[in-house]
């Protein structure tokens, strides 16, 4: 029983982190039906932004979160204005190749600039700290990352439901053409979507720095699981990403515990496959 609770909680914590990774991807997809294959690389650059802030400016990884958010936002804006916007007039495949190319460019660009080394934060408020709650030992860094994820989800959800901008974003997502005739500048909504997606990926990256290593290829580690989370929750669905993230986290830990650690990703992909087979729009997908 203790074991179940123990790993159940760690599954939920990690699941919230996956949900945060999926958030930016699902927002961008929801608004403009574009899959950003470079999302993992946005995360990676967010991690570098967080790590470099920690290493050279202020020795606390949490201080890197706002910096990484800004870097991610800038990255999203640049990616949209310099690349994606130009691809919109082409066939959908152009966008796929475009963001795929961006992924390779960012990954190998980071390799050239930062070198292949793994870097890690070794000190900080929550780095390698235990949090004992009612007899359970938790990783403080993961608790903070999960809390950050929950907070950002709440923020994005409220923004989407309660503000003029949020409603405009949703209108764009629901029907781009109609939105345009309601006076909504849908091109600007795309830009805001990319900025938002980049910012959340960046902040997620900086939160990961508290307990994860940073390397030019770290985006690869998280990409598959992020795409699976988004598809599982329903492309474009914000609450779907949250629920799917937690689900993926739980499947992961319980498979490793009950069946075998080497099958955990296989089980996640099987669940994903079944969901796609019987419910192609995902758990909470709108379309």
């Amino acid at each position: 029983m203790d074991v179940v609770l123990d790993i159940g909680i760690s599954g939920v914590l990690m699941g919230l982190v996956y949900a945060l990774l999926a958030l930016g991807l699902t927002v961008i997809f929801g608004i403009m039906d574009t899959v950003n294959f470079a999302h993992g690389e946005f995360l990676m650059l967010g991690m570098y932004a967080g790590y470099l802030t920690y290493a050279y400016l202020y020795p606390e990884p949490l201080a890197g979160v706002p910096v990484a958010g800004l870097v991610g936002m800038l990255l999203g804006v640049l990616a949209y204005t310099l690349l994606v916007k130009r691809l919109l007039s082409g066939p959908p495949i152009a966008q796929i190749f475009g963001t795929f190319g961006l992924m390779l460019f960012l990954r190998y660009g980071a390799l050239a600039v930062f070198g292949p080394n793994l870097r890690s934060a070794t000190q900080g408020l929550v780095v390698a700290k235990r949090l004992v709650v009612g007899g359970l030992t938790l990783d403080a860094a993961k608790v903070v990352a999960a809390a950050g994820s929950a907070f950002l989800f709440g923020l994005v959800y409220l923004m989407l439901r309660r503000t003029k901008l949020g409603l405009a974003l949703q209108a764009t997502a629901a029907n781009r053409e109609a939105a345009r005739y309601m006076g909504i500048d849908t091109d600007r909504m795309n830009l805001i979507g990319w900025a938002l997606g980049g910012a959340t990926a960046g902040m997620a990256g900086a939160l990961l720095v508290n307990f994860y290593y940073v390397s030019p290829t770290v985006g690869m580690v998280f990409s598959m699981i992020t795409f699976t989370t988004v598809a599982l929750g329903g492309f474009g669905s914000v609450p779907g990403a949250l629920i799917a993230g937690i689900l993926v986290g739980l499947i992961e830990v319980f498979t490793a515990q009950v069946i075998s650690p080497q099958l955990k990703l296989a089980v996640i992909y099987t669940v994903f496959f079944l969901v796609v087979l019987f419910r192609p729009r995902g758990l909470l997908g709108a379309r």
Partner: protein, 444 residues
Amino acid sequence: MLRVRRWIRTIAAVLGLIVFVGTLPSAAQETVKIGVILPLSGPLAPTGQELRRGYELMVDIVNNVYPELAALGLEVAGWNGIPSLGGAKIEPIFADSRGEPAVGADMARRLILEQGVVGLMGAYQSSVTQTVATVAERHGIPLVNSDSSSPTLTTLGYEWFWRVTPHDMIFDDDLFNLLDGLVEGKAPGVPAVPKDSIRRLAVVVENTEFGSATGNDIVNRLAPERGYEVVEYMRYQANSPDLTSETARLVNSGADVYLFASYVSDAILFMRTLALRGAKPTLIWGQNAGFTNPDFVQALGPALHGVLTRSLFIAKIGEVRPIAAAINELYRQRYGTNLSEESAREMLGVLAWAHALNNAGSTNPRALQRALNELDIPGDQLITPWQGIKFGSRRPGEKNQNIYATGMIGQYQYNPETGGVTLEIVYPFEAATADMVFPFPGWD
């Protein structure tokens, strides 16, 4: 389609030309050409460069006179070329395998047919070495390997393949020699420990070739042979974003000893998560790879105090082997870093070649084959704590393996006064540079 083919042909021709020009001899003098096949481009390029430095320095020592090394008893340092060949210089000719078996074989053919090399070295990845060995075998040209560790290579019955360095099963033997040594009271600074404090093993390996080979050898061969109990055999995915549940499983197994075969990222995650859980095994050992990576040390620092890792070469050996210290110093002056496992490997390979050439007194392949078969270099000529280099068989079906080759096991030790973490040698026991920390002190 036709255009694509023309392009491919053009590109292939250009690449071929580059490789050909790159491998042309630098000067037409009396030299002994040894072809060296390494992964000099592709993902393993940094490792390839490290390996290359080892070759170059040792070739330099053989080809010239280094009085300070000669004074320490290193014979080749006083040779000024191969004495029995009238002072002929060794000329290494590098070829890039790009880390691909087919390319490696092709390079071997070219080195033999176009360059007329008398011998070969390389090719780092065991899969590439194997295809190169096939080419060497067909042409009857000796291949002396010092950088591949797949046990299979010396069991294929090759007549033209010799391995200077230990293979993975020898490394695994080393681990159990250390465990047995603890029980027998042989470990430096540790009184004999009851076997029950280290009997229960957890074997945690990443689930590709590297980890599985180590895991299976320990679980199926060594643990039963030496009387240890494997309570958890866990194969995990190295690219997992999270290893929390794996760690929980490991801790819950109640094992005394944790044995890892991991790459660097997963090694870091495991150590961090274990530390957070306050795991307290009596011993933690890692099979090289991630556990010797500088990034691993940087990420964990003092938290590594007491963790063991196997390695072929640990620079600290200089404290007990003056020749190793002097060569390390030379290496530092030239390249700015300590000798690494990779560069040390290649120095041993060149050393074996130098002695074989000198003993043969000829570059005739048959003469070289005989010289290698009969090679017997004493341990005092080496930078490793081995009895020497002598090829033979240590187990049934094995051939042309250096019977004296062993690995080293190092222990990370934190020095609170300097704030630094050093890798001290604790095995082989006679080459120990510090007392072993046992049991593992935990992370509290």
